[in-house]
């Protein structure tokens, strides 16, 4: 079936609320999923894959392990980036504001591909960002200029770093200097695939025109989660609507 972005956003917010996410978290999580889907990064497929673990995630957030000047290490406590992503990017941006640049590492966190929307949002505050993580035999890198609406998203072979479920974020005032810092820390293999900003824009325009295709089973699952935040209707409750 096809749904609109607004409809899917409303459903996702309530579904995440049904999973126990708090206000800021469910807003951010819905935005992350939607952004990935409408820009051609298969956000709904990722969500379908992530849902089984989200049912049991206890809504844990990232925990600060250490923070020395412009470097911080966080522990994701085996939680999802949907819960840890905002905190991590915000910490990186705050440190960069204070020190000119920053590097934050988040370990032990899942569903890292959802991070894109958080980076795009942070870039609107005049920050340049690079994010990097490894999945199996591939490494992924996202780069975004200050103020840009889409990142450059590339996959690489032969990862240079393979910390367990780890994610690294580099932030600065301009992308060239952030990339330079990044290259001193990470050695990339050959590019396997790049998703260009133009491809993301085309995907977005298609969605705007035709709506978003969603698997019926996933939509039904979201509906079931939404039902968790609804209250049983009674004669008494109808009085609370004007009867």
């Amino acid at each position: 079936m096809r749904v609109s972005r607004n409809e899917l956003t409303a459903s996702l917010k309530k579904a995440f609320e049904g999973l126990g996410f708090s206000v800021g978290d469910y807003q951010d999580a819905a935005a992350m999923v939607i952004w990935s889907e409408i820009h051609g990064l298969k956000g709904l497929q990722q969500l379908q894959d992530a849902l089984p673990s989200l049912y049991n995630c206890l809504c844990l957030h990232a925990k600060l392990i250490s923070n020395d000047d412009n470097y911080a290490l966080l522990d994701g406590q085996s939680s999802s980036i949907l819960l840890c992503g905002s905190q991590t990017v915000r910490l990186a941006c705050a440190l960069a504001r204070q020190h000119g640049s920053a590097q934050v590492q988040l370990d032990n966190c899942h569903n890292r591909r959802f991070l894109v929307q958080r980076l795009v949002s942070a870039a609107q505050s005049d920050s340049a960002l690079v994010a990097y993580w490894v999945e199996g035999n591939s490494a992924f890198k996202l780069s975004i200029e200050p103020g840009a609406k889409q990142p450059i998203y590339s996959a690489y072979a032969s990862p240079g770093l393979s910390a367990d479920q780890s994610l690294m974020i580099f932030v600065g005032n301009d992308l060239a200097s952030v990339e330079e810092t990044f290259s001193t820390v990470i050695k990339l293999g050959p590019v396997v695939e790049t998703i260009s900003p133009d491809a993301m824009i085309n995907s977005y325009n298609d969605m705007l025109e035709q709506g978003i295709e969603i698997d019926d089973n996933l939509w039904n699952e979201l509906d079931n989660l939404v039902a968790r935040v609804l209250v049983e209707s009674t004669e008494s409750s109808r009085a609370g609507a004007g009867d």
Partner: protein
């Protein structure tokens, strides 16, 4: 009396584009928002201006109704930038099943506004889904889905009169004001429809907030008038007459609005800020235009408007004792104003009396609804200063958290911008006596009583004041241990407050937006929220049915489609009973 109208007090000044806007602590009080009336910037007004001035061409391409008026109608709309289709289905509805609530599942009329023209295949698709409303699905070719119910008091009466060759009694019409009332107009991507982003970027004719929804209601009004003429002619082809055009203009579309509209205002604070800021800017411009005195012509217009509003209020029929009493008081105060304008007009002009002084007098001595009516009337006087603001009513609802802000600065910001929230004593039982929740019945928002109704653990986060207070308390506790920390480090420790901080920081950059009221107080009056939003829609004749829902009238007094392209004075606000100037046309087409 005259001296009482002159005051040396100044408006509080808050600079925006160099003009003094009223402060948020005055404007954003819930009872004031609930006293707003329509203005030149209201969405119905701006839509009508656009349709008439651009001479939109609207014709029915399908009018396939049986003798009782049941069937299908399709209208093709050729606007300035595009072609659209308004598709309507008329169904038999047992009067016992006629229900205005969101939870209803049958209606007299159901309709959809679509992009482009509609072919046979799409019409069948719409026929299968539009009558089901929330239980159906449409697609991104559809902008708006809506429904309407007949007025039990007027529809049959008007048809009977027309069938017997008579025009209906204006006094009967005045009691109600419409033939049909709409109970919902869904847009913005609901039920598979086009997202607002698509409408805004692709269809300039409807690229203003709620323009497509308002147009759908306008077309319902058009159909309702055509429908009455049609059924009367079918019933009595030899005797039936058509409704007189002056009477047609006096018909609007009824509207029932309940709590479903209330959360919108809380969840779209930047949009509400935008609407109110434009209205306040319009008011500031009007007041500034009269800074050095008022000319004769403008004063005459104002006096005429005052007389008209007095008549308008006198013609409102409401069973709500509070609204009725308020209307009486407002009328009396406006009659005082009218008498003063009449007796002192020369003096007013000679003494360079200003609108600011009148507004001040109203604030000191008159009912809050009188104040806001006068403000709407002042805005009306200066279209050349005001109308351009209609293009500024849209904004992206995009909230941003500033992680590098020190907690010290955030704490000070809360104390400055949210002093109203910190002033609420949430330890009082009545301060948390209500809660908002979504019912499993069509997710209808409802208001529950704390510890009495079920569902408190699932309440919606609409208590902004309480949310700010909780956040503030937590910041104070955290700062006792880490006084130099920033927001980023605070939300690592207290992640559940990120949403609150995001809203606080975002709204601190705007002037209006947050309603300064405890929305979970036992005595909260949600009807004020509804009235505020409805005033921006442009409705009139508020008729509260309880503190939770209100009936009102849309487009009453507005031009007819046959008036498009003709000279237009845009003065249909505050409709009054027409004085019939023409005889009815006995022919029925």
């Amino acid at each position: 009396m005259h001296s009482g109208y002159r005051s040396t007090a100044k408006h509080s000044l808050s600079q925006s584009a160099g003009l003094p806007l009223r402060p948020a602590n005055q404007v954003m009080q819930l009872n004031r928002l609930g006293s707003f009336h329509q203005s030149r910037l209201s969405f119905m007004r701006t839509l009508v201006r656009r349709m008439v001035q651009e001479n939109w061409q609207i014709k029915s391409t399908v009018f396939d109704l049986d003798k009782e008026g049941y069937g299908t109608a399709v209208y093709e709309v050729n606007a300035r930038y595009g072609t659209y289709s308004y598709v309507l289905f008329s169904h038999y509805l047992d009067p016992q099943n006629r229900n205005d609530r969101v939870i209803a599942d049958q209606w007299d009329l159901t309709m959809a506004l679509c992009e482009g023209t509609v072919d046979t295949e799409q019409l069948e698709f719409l026929r299968s889904n539009v009558p089901k409303q929330e239980a159906g699905r449409v697609d991104s070719r559809v902008f708006v889905l809506s429904r309407g119910n007949r007025s039990g008091r007027t529809f049959d009466y008007v048809v009977d009169e027309l069938a017997m060759g008579r025009q209906p009694d204006i006094d009967v019409i005045a009691e109600v004001g419409y033939l049909y009332r709409t109970t919902a107009a869904y847009g913005s991507g609901k039920l598979g429809m086009a997202d607002w982003e698509k409408v805004r970027t692709k269809h300039r004719d409807f690229a203003r907030p709620f323009a497509a929804e308002m147009f759908t209601c306008f077309m319902l009004r058009h159909f309702s008038l055509q429908h009455a003429d049609y059924i009367a002619a079918q019933r009595a082809p030899k005797t039936a007459v058509k409704l007189d055009d002056d009477i047609k203009r006096y018909f609007g579309i009824g509207n029932s609005t309940g709590l479903g509209m209330a959360p919108f205002l809380i969840n779209h604070p930047l949009l509400i800020n935008q609407w109110i800021e434009q209205r306040e800017t319009a008011l500031a411009r009007a007041v500034a235009a009269g800074e050095n005195g008022i000319d004769v012509s403008t004063l005459d217009k104002f006096a005429t408007a005052t007389a008209r509003v007095i008549q308008h209020l006198g013609e409102i029929s409401t069973g709500d004792s509070q609204q009725s009493a308020s209307n009486v008081v407002v009328r009396e105060e406006l009659q005082d104003l009218a008498q003063w304008l009449s007796a002192e007009s020369e003096n007013i002009i000679a003494s360079h009396y200003s609108w600011a002084e009148l507004a001040q007098h109203a604030e000191y001595y008159w009912h809050i609804e009188t104040q806001e009516l006068i403000n709407s009337m002042l805005i009306e006087l200066y279209p050349e200063l005001v109308d351009e603001l209609e293009e500024m009513m849209a904004v992206e609802e995009d909230q941003h958290l500033v992680p590098q802000m020190s907690l010290n600065d955030l704490k000070a910001l809360i104390e400055d911008k949210y002093d109203w929230a910190l002033a609420i004593d949430f330890s009082q039982t009545e301060s948390q006596g209500s809660f908002w929740y979504r019912s499993e019945e069509k997710m209808e928002p409802r208001l529950g009583q704390t510890h009495i109704d079920m569902g408190m653990e699932k309440q919606m986060p609409l208590a902004i004041g309480r949310m700010v207070r909780e956040c503030y308390n937590e910041i104070c506790i955290f700062m006792a241990e880490f006084p130099q920390q920033d927001v980023a480090h605070f939300i690592l420790q207290r992640p559940n407050f990120s949403g609150a901080i995001c809203r606080i920081q975002t709204m601190a950059r705007s002037q209006y937006g947050d309603i300064r009221e405890n929305l979970v107080h036992s005595d909260v009056l949600p009807i004020h929220l509804l009235r505020c939003k409805l005033s921006f829609f442009g409705v009139s004749k508020f008729d509260p049915r309880s503190r939770l829902w209100v009936r009102n009238t849309m487009f009453q007094g507005a031009p007819l489609i046959s008036d498009f392209g003709k000279p237009f004075f845009d003065d249909w606000q505050f409709p009054i009973k027409p004085v019939l100037s023409s005889t009815s046309d006995p022919s029925v087409g």
